[in-house]
Amino acid sequence: MSVGPWVADQLAKARASGVEVEDVSYHPVGFSQNLQEREPYERVVLVGSVERRRAPGTVEAYRWDGELPGRDEIQERVSEAVTGVISLDNTLIVCGALGGLPDEVRVVEVEPEDQGWGDGFSRTIEERLPEVLEAVWSSTRP
């Protein structure tokens, strides 16, 4: 199971005032296009599981610095996005390059333990999910 869509389901149940929750694991370019058609958000918080060679289950929350790679890599990420690859990083880069994101973007990541397919989460991630949810809520507060 993927962390991001699961978190979106959980957060949507909470119905916090002033916070919109959306599963954006559909199409980075589409997400950018959708953002550009809406009233700008003050802040966007993206959450997902990303492998960065940390200890499995590591939860990190940070403010994205908005730095984009060179043109060639941006183009590669757009190509990747339009041919069906969806990741937190390519969502940031594609939306950063094509537009729609506000100045303030926060990210909550969790290091995966097992990237195989199947039902549910690994045990390590299962145990970290409350922490992930709390990190996301914290990131939405002023």
């Binding site: 199409h27 370019v29 589409g30 183009q75 339009v82 094509l98």
Partner: protein
């Protein structure tokens, strides 16, 4: 008689049978391949030419869907490609995943094979299940399916022409690799300015620049237009939620059709503009250097299962496949050296074989206790089937080190009548151009050497366009053909929309039929297409679960490694024929733009799940090493 190589002949009634007196009719002898690097004498001779012989690996090939690596040996002095090897670097695995599952899962799981063409996998899966279950959708369900197909292509073709392949023809690329062409482009009038608005070829190239060019941005916008229409029926894109065996699980009303209509007609103008752009670009390159016709050149050998079923002709049975296949808007066809040798789906089907001599799989026909042998000796009509046919195939992955002489790809080598075939958006219009007794003549007119399109007026006036079968078939013509396919797909969508509205007026709005998963033994096949061509799913079902499931995608055909007869796959063949026209002074300046234009002209899509099961554990991201790590041969790369 459509087969030259397979031992199949036809009786007076047109029924196929194996030729008599041929022992082991499907056996073959393997032709040994001798790569340059493994022939010491050849290598010494080549290296003595002062380093102009170079190994150039494109790993990964960028701006393609999925994981593809391409190995070449090039002669930079004589501007020739000496050796080519196409590597699918990741294992797909869906065929293994689907075993033992409820057949209906195949629609949703196979969709995940690809993030561009998930919808067509779902549909092809539904077609295979319909054949196995003995059901077929009502006319409105088929109309809905046809609309989804068109809309998927209207997303796919602009994406390819301006986001994936297009940048190779943009100002930065041309300026860097052939500055003399850029100089020429600045003074070259664009003949079709009245349609596309650009005065010179250079202006066109500038606007094809990635990220900043207006044509690039416009293509991104048009992909959204197509997606918006798609989700009205499909629920979401690229993995629709509404495709089921027997039709579509969504209801469709007039407002859905209106919303779809508003979006389809935008492609009438856009399609004309894109055709004009690519006609001008292609002719510019040809005029500058006629050798551009030879970039990506290969024989006119194409295969096309046909798509867009006639809502009143399709019945889902194998018995009638030749009839309903022929009634499709894009009719089935196999083209050999420019000649249409068959339009019968059953003949297309029985001519297909997959070989694994140079692929990371075991030959299932060898037995070995796991092998299937030759389970189905005939198709449901009694026509002979090869042990290498997808219905007989078992996917037995066997990872190993990469060796150009032995095994080097996760793609199998599909062949028709033991010939390498290509397929693509263009194979649809090519088969259509050659079709006799074509019935969908509202907007199309096959001429025998081309296909005319009558495009209704929108913002641009109504116009007639004609795609002509080219004299020489290569990379530039593939892109040009794909441009015409935007109009082709939009017009077919339009015709289906009108049929749908008529059905609605008559109250015939049912979009699916009920079904149950049979518990007895069944087989089925879905013959359909993806953005880049031929797509089939062959299934074997027993006791309510999938026993075997085989997917042959267009990129399996085209990215295939060499077959047992030593014939290269289409990418390999096309790149081998490509002259190196790039302007370089030193070998280290070589960018390989002509090679890349060739590969990308096929619109590669390498569906690439990396998950495989081995009993109790799941292997994630089993990445076969890049092309530059061929065994441990001590060569510096």
């Amino acid at each position: 008689m459509c087969f030259k190589n397979l031992p199949i002949e036809f009786d007076e009634q047109g029924n196929a049978r194996l030729k008599e007196g041929v022992a082991n009719p499907y056996s073959y002898e393997v032709t040994e391949v001798t790569p340059i690097e493994q022939d010491e004498e050849k290598l010494k001779e080549l290296l003595s030419r002062n380093g102009h012989i170079r190994r150039v690996d494109f790993d990964p090939v960028t701006r393609v869907a999925g994981a593809l690596a391409f190995h070449t040996v090039v002669d930079l002095e004589n501007r020739r490609v000496l050796e080519t090897d196409s590597m699918a670097t990741l294992f797909r695995g869906y065929e293994v995943i689907l075993k033992g599952r409820d057949p209906r899962d195949a629609i949703f799981i196979s969709s995940r094979a690809c993030g561009v063409c998930g919808g067509v996998h779902s549909t092809t899966s539904a077609l295979a299940l319909e054949m196995a279950f003995g059901i077929h959708p009502p006319p409105m369900g088929i109309v809905a399916r046809n609309l989804l197909l068109s809309l998927e292509y209207l997303y796919d073709h602009p994406l390819h022409l301006f986001l994936l392949a297009g940048p190779d023809f943009s100002e930065p690329a041309v300026r860097e690799t052939n500055p003399e062409l850029w100089e020429r482009a600045q003074h070259a009038t664009a003949p079709s300015k009245a349609t596309h608005g650009y005065g010179t070829i250079a202006e066109l190239m500038t606007d094809m620049t990635p990220l900043t060019g207006k044509l690039y941005a416009e293509a991104l916008h048009m992909t959204r237009v197509a997606r918006e229409a798609y989700v009205l029926i499909g629920g979401k894109y690229p993995h629709p939620q509404t495709i089921v065996p027997g039709g579509i699980s969504a209801t469709i009303d007039v407002s859905d059709f209106n919303e779809i209509h508003l979006r389809i007609i935008k492609f009438f103008d856009y399609g004309q503009k894109v055709v004009a752009i690519w006609n001008d670009l292609v002719e510019f390159f040809y005029e500058a250097n006629p050798q551009y016709r030879d970039v990506g050149r290969r024989p006119k050998r194409l295969i096309e299962p046909g798509q867009w079923d006639d809502p009143f002709a399709y019945d889902g049975t194998y018995e009638n496949a030749d009839t309903w296949g022929r009634a499709r808007w894009a009719p089935p066809g196999v083209i050999v050296d420019g000649e249409l040798v068959t339009t019968k789906l059953t003949q297309l089907n029985i001519g297909v074989e997959e070989f694994v001599e140079h692929s990371f799989y075991e030959d299932w026909t060898a037995g070995n206790g796991n092998g299937n042998g030759h389970r189905f000796e005939t198709d449901p009509l009694g026509n002979p089937l090869s042990p290498y046919h997808p219905w007989n195939k078992e996917t037995i992955p066997k990872p190993s080190g990469t060796n150009w002489k032995e095994k080097y790809s996760w793609s199998t080598s599909p062949r028709w009548d033991r010939m390498a075939m290509e397929t693509g958006a263009y194979s649809r219009i090519w088969a259509n151009a050659l079709a006799n007794d074509y019935s969908h003549l509202n907007h199309f007119e096959p001429t025998g050497d081309g296909l005319k399109f009558n495009v209704p007026g929108s913002s641009l006036p109504a116009a007639e366009h004609e795609w002509k079968i080219p004299e020489v078939w290569g990379a530039f013509e593939r892109n040009r053909g794909r441009a015409y396919c935007i109009l082709y797909s939009a017009l077919i969508a339009y015709e289906n929309l009108l049929i749908g509205l008529d059905l609605m007026k008559k109250g015939d709005t049912t979009t699916s039929v009920p079904h149950e998963v049979p518990k007895d033994f069944r087989i089925g096949a879905g013959f359909w297409g993806a953005g880049r061509g031929y797509l089939t799913h062959h299934c074997v079902i027993d006791d309510g679960v999938i026993e075997n499931y085989q997917i042959v995608t267009p990129s399996t055909w085209m990215a295939s490694p060499k077959d047992p007869f030593g014939n290269p796959g289409p990418y390999e063949e096309a790149v081998a024929a490509t002259p190196l026209l790039e302007n370089y002074e030193r070998p280290e300046d070589f960018k390989g733009i002509d090679v890349l234009r060739t590969i990308r002209s096929f619109d590669p899509c390498m569906p690439c799940t990396t998950h495989i099961h081995t009993d109790s554990r799941v292997i994630s991201r089993e990445v076969i090493t890049c092309a530059c790590g061929v065994d441990d041969d001590g060569h510096e790369h």
